[in-house]
């Protein structure tokens, strides 16, 4: 039987608004995280991931409920519990005017390390994060990716049993992102550490996790391995047709549904708004919310739409779907075929995309 390192029971966090009404940030979470696994919390921004983890790591006091790490209550035995925990916050929580070594040295002392043990731990972390040659440089001279690596290194100094990483890849370039993901894999494979990982990127959760908890509006709405979760939406592929500004009526969707293998077809249009102050620009860069890609549109052309078709064998249905679109005069700008993934699970469970 697997042994739980983290146990959370009925964790709840509420805030009071100025008008006296209560906001439920986390609405009663029960959770076990097992030793040696990478557990990811997946959910859109504001879903309650960070609040949940902040309560588990002792930063926030829960309004109700309790969490334990290694059997120690984070509220009643915080010192014992925190010795088992290494936290890597989303923010670069470092002293920018100190060197990487000075930062590691200070935080190591806070974990109770000292003397040779501390010096060895710092050297080991610098080696692990590949920052040995920049150890004496001030952190504010580092690139974003390097700062992230020091940030991670601080959480590993005391060789904790549990490492909590809160969206550690936010704002880093693809190369640094890859490096961070590899670090997480090494923590699991080489150091047998338990990792609690939060992200809003399903690709990361899918790649790293033994188990995933999908969280939305302060509740865990699905929990299991990636395979178990994907099974919830069946074996359907998603075909996403970018139709730009065209208006798509129901007749198009009805024709699509008649194609063999297709179970559903939906149309979604987005109002893409330029950034504040850029409304009058001839060209505006906007983020296409469905894919997260950036595109340039002309002022006044700030709508975008896509048809999503669910099909059991998507690639096989594609030629027929394109033919029907052509027949009905619908211009398809691009097509993307997506196999079942956590994004689809989230969409299936909430009716919304992860990035919404």
């Amino acid at each position: 039987m697997r042994q739980a390192l983290v146990e959370a029971r009925g964790l709840m966090k509420t805030y009071k608004r100025k008008d006296g009404t209560e906001v439920y940030a986390v609405q009663g979470i029960d959770l076990d995280i097992y030793k040696g696994e990478v557990f990811s919390f997946l959910g859109p921004n504001g879903a309650g991931k960070t609040t949940t983890i902040s309560m588990i790591s002792g930063l926030l006091a829960p309004t109700k409920g309790e969490a334990t790490i290694g059997g120690f209550s984070i509220t009643r035995q915080p010192m014992e519990a925190k010795k088992l925990l290494g936290v890597v916050p989303q923010e670069i929580a470092l002293y920018p005017t100190l060197s990487a070594r000075q930062n590691l040295d200070f935080f190591g002392r806070m974990y109770g390390l000292g003397g040779k043990e501390l010096a060895m731990a710092v050297d080991e972390v610098l080696e692990f994060t590949d920052l040995k040659d920049r150890a004496k440089d001030r952190v504010d001279t580092f690139s974003g990716g390097m700062k992230r690596r020091v940030n991670i290194g601080v959480g590993l100094l005391h060789k904790p049993q549990l490492v909590y990483m809160d969206e550690p890849t936010v704002g880093v370039d693809p190369q640094s992102r890859r490096r961070i993901l590899d670090t997480v894999i090494r923590l699991r494979e080489e150091r047998k550490m338990t990792v609690l990982y939060t992200t809003h990127l399903m690709e990361e959760a899918q790649e790293l996790s033994n188990r995933v908890g999908i969280i939305d509006q302060g509740r865990i709405i699905a929990l299991g391995t990636v395979g178990e979760l994907v099974q919830k939406v069946g074996e359907e592929d998603r075909l996403i047709f970018d139709v730009g500004e065209q208006h798509i009526d129901n007749a198009v969707l009805e024709r699509f549904k008649q194609v063999a293998g297709v179970t559903r077809a939906t149309y979604q249009s987005y109002n893409l708004k330029p950034a504040a102050g850029a409304e009058d620009s001839a060209e505006i860069i906007v983020e296409k919310r469905s894919t997260g890609t950036m595109q340039i549109v002309r002022s006044g052309q700030v709508t975008d739409g896509e048809i999503t078709v669910y099909a059991k064998r998507g690639r096989k249905a594609l030629p027929e779907l394109l033919r029907i679109a052509d027949e009905l005069g619908v211009s398809i700008l691009s097509v993307e075929v997506r196999e079942p993934d956590l994004e689809a699970v989230f969409l299936h469970l909430t009716g919304r995309a992860l990035r919404e």
Partner: protein, 428 residues
């Protein structure tokens, strides 16, 4: 304890990482202290200052002495004789002065000096017998130098003239006796008038006695006795209140939140940070007094207006005053840190507090020269209590025991600020 010291040490490194910190902490305060020290030095006193005069002789000569004193410096108001209708002398309903009452007035700063002319003053002078006028001073930067100088000038002028007239009269009398006493007095007056400008030697001297009565030579501080503790108190206040902004910055950088996820208690974090600002304030205080002593010692070789800074006779008392003010301001800084939300708010509040508490508390000028109600209001500022303590130690030969009331009040203020700060302190 190791974790507390590590937080303190780390914060100290962070503070001095900024090259501007050394300039702001040490250089600028010293420059201010030197400039203000010179401004308060020399004869440039306030427009009117009170001197208590007890004339136990009450003769023509003693009155002449006082008239000459008034002429020597028109800023001097001789109490009670020259009291104004609105009671500038602060005598209340009872205008009579006794030596005991005046000594009390000295320690309360109701008067800056006491001059006692002994009974038999005129007779002694005429008989060529030594006689002393007693001058007691509540030494501070603004007044005593020019008060003492005025007294000495009168003593010199009158003494010289009296000696000359006595010698001339006696010499003439031996060779050519006067017809009567009136002729003798007329000759003596004529000789006095002519000799008034020819001061030879002093037939009587001024014996200077410090207010607390200790047998101590003059510890005239010049302006630096005011400017060094004043500027040190003000800049320590600024330095320590910056703790509020640093708390906001640490929250923004998330380093404070990160500490709470580590096996460190909230009390240890607070203690480490409080200790850092307390030590920083103490270092700055000691450095300021050290620099003050060094600079005044060097400058005294080049300027008559500068005397080496006198640090009193009780170093422990001095340290206790410094520690009490630093602790009080550290507590106020942490309280500020719980009230503000942004660094901008912190900077605004820092300037407001620093630039109001310092002048209000007598860091810029002595509270002796401000109206009574301002002196009362000024004691809202912890700096006023510190300056009172410094004055006792640096000017009045005070000891640790004599500054305990000031220390107690500052520590009580610190306790109140800490209680509010700790109950309001949130890390997240």
């Amino acid at each position: 304890m190791r974790k507390i010291l590590s937080i303190t040490f780390n914060d100290m490194i962070l503070y001095f990482r900024d090259p501007g910190a050394v300039i702001g902490t040490f250089l600028i305060p010293v420059v201010f202290a030197v400039v203000l020290g010179f401004a308060f030095s020399g004869n440039n006193g306030p427009t009117q200052v009170r001197i208590d005069v007890i004339d136990n002789d009450n003769t023509a000569l003693s009155q002449l002495f006082l008239t000459n004193l008034r002429q020597a410096n028109t800023a001097l108001v001789l109490c009670p004789a020259d009291n104004s209708e609105d009671d500038f002398c602060r005598l209340g309903d009872d205008p009579a002065l006794t030596e005991e009452r005046s000594l009390g007035r000295l320690s309360n700063n109701d008067t800056l000096a006491l001059l006692v002319i002994p009974a038999g003053f005129e007779a002694s002078v005429e008989a060529n017998q030594p006689v002393s006028v007693t001058y007691r001073s509540n030494e501070n930067a603004a007044a005593p130098t020019f008060i003492l100088q005025a007294v000495q000038a009168v003593v010199q002028r009158m003494g010289g003239a009296l000696v000359a007239s006595n010698v001339a009269t006696n010499t003439v009398a031996e060779a050519l006796p006067f017809d009567d006493d009136a002729a003798r007095d007329a000759f003596r007056q004529q000789a006095y008038d002519e000799a008034a400008q020819l001061w030879a030697e002093n037939p009587f001297s001024v014996s200077y006695v410090a207010a607390a009565g200790a047998p101590q030579a003059s510890n005239s501080q010049g302006g630096f006795g005011q400017s060094v503790p004043g500027m040190a108190s003000m800049f320590v206040t600024f330095t320590v209140l910056i703790s509020a902004i640093n708390l906001i910055r640490e929250r923004k950088n998330w380093t404070l939140q990160r500490l709470t996820t580590m096996p460190v208690s909230r009390a240890q974090i607070l203690a480490g940070k409080i200790l850092m600002y307390f030590l920083l304030g103490m270092i700055q205080f000691i450095a300021m007094f050290g620099f003050g002593l060094l600079v005044t010692t060097i400058l005294s070789n080049f300027s008559e207006n500068v005397t080496p800074l006198y640090l009193g006779q009780d170093a422990l008392g001095l340290l206790l005053i410094m520690a009490s003010l630093t602790l009080c301001m550290t507590a106020l800084g942490f309280l500020m840190g719980t009230l503000i939300r942004t660094e901008m708010q912190g900077a605004a509040l820092l300037n407001l507090l620093g630039l109001s508490l310092a002048p209000l508390g007598g860091a810029w000028w002595p509270l002796d020269i401000v109206p009574e109600f301002m002196r009362v209001v000024g004691h809202i500022s912890p700096i006023a209590w510190a300056m009172d303590g410094f004055r006792k130690l640096l000017f009045e030969q005070g000891t640790l025991v004599s500054v305990l009331p000031e220390v107690g009040i500052m520590l009580a203020m610190a306790a109140v600020f800490f209680v509010f700060a700790i109950t309001r302190f949130k890390i997240e």
